[in-house]
Amino acid sequence: MKSIITIIFLLLASVAYGQEFKEDISVVQFSASFVKDSEIDLKKLKDCSTYTFYIEKNKVYFIREKIEYLPTVLVYQNGKEIMRVETGISMAFPEGTGKKIRKKVEELIGNKF
């Protein structure tokens, strides 16, 4: 009985924790309105969930995910951080970042087959 209660608690906690953006395979861009020009276009990623959070609205996520540079892109799979791409002080992503992320997403999906 104790085990069942624990399981139910864990399930509810996983929902209540509100981190659905980390479910399955997702690409999350942590940004701010003043660096919009530096963002990468996530719309091209069609095989995974994509999110863009702005520090003005979702500061708590930035703290929880230890975001140090804006913008930053994180790739998650089942709650785990798989890849982090930061802009650094230049506030510009390294060249080929979009392709690198797309390749990583394809690799993660490919591992399911």
């Binding site: 399955d24 999906i109 087959f113």
Partner: protein
Amino acid sequence: MKKLLLLLVLFSTSVDAQILRDVFKYSTVFGSYTETSPLFTTPMYFVTQDGEVRDVTAERSNDYVVSYGIRKIARMDYENRTNRFYDGSEQNSSLSSNIGNIKGLEYLFQYSKGRQQGRDFKSERYLIRYIAKYWIGRVEMQNNGLISLNYKTADLRLRLPIGKKFSLSAGVAVRTHKPYGYNPIDEYLNSMLVDDDGNEYPANWWDLAYNYGFQDVGYGIDADFDGQIDQSDWYWVDEDGERVADTDLDFRRNDYTKIVNDYNKTMLDAIGILGTLSAVVGVDYYHYRDNLWVHSWGNLFPKHKHIHGDEEFSYETFIGSDDWVDYNYGIIFGWNINKRIGIFTEYEKTKFWDKDLVYIKAGLNLKL
């Protein structure tokens, strides 16, 4: 299978290259051959009148399976890919539930043939599923010669995702099936037959045996030699006049069971395949973390309509209602309590028509 390959080639040559890439991306074409020694057979010996011992153990050739096909079915995260290569023997939990581990198109076209325990068989399974955000479509045909499973199903539903883990769905499903609930031999034994003079009489079990060419011959036994018959019975001969049973009971226990099975099969085959359209509602939940996962699903089919085949033998007619409840549900759960202890369980229950199937597995792993 040849027709399907032809369709595949036609499809490949007629559609846009990008669509083609999307359709075949992550898919695997596979072919495999497996041969194994047959299961152990208990040695059998026959001793002749002269005391000579002869080995009469049935000889069995090796079992083998040839499988080939193309597949694009995503494994759930908890399903280890134990073999590096696909060989056609894979069982994917995602195919039991309404949602898989990816959105979009999944498919499986597989053909197998071989021999198992001395019996030749062939199996086919063709499946296409599309999971979109707000709808699910699925068509499937399976003909498994090993377990005599033959059905077609098509399913179209609207889907309501609730967060990333829950999903509700509702729609319609078409299922083809054998005439369930109808037992031809039962009907035969409760029917009226007509004799040569045109008189009706209730069918007896032995009437069916006569139809199959068997005849019974009555005899009596005077066990105490007092000139009175103490016991009477019938022995049975086949159409060649060979004695096949010494008593009615002996006959019913042996040849008559084959007659009943053959009669049932012949009558059911004559009725053919039936089709039922059903309303369906479903629910799915999937949560995965490396140390805890839950995958559960359920489907309820509360309302039905016979749409194909002889309605007289539909399940609807058999139970006199169109609102019987079919359902299936399942749960797969695994929990690595800590680095050394893990527990897991799988439970699946299906109640379709008068068929009730249960699968259960549970276990504990302790790493020393």
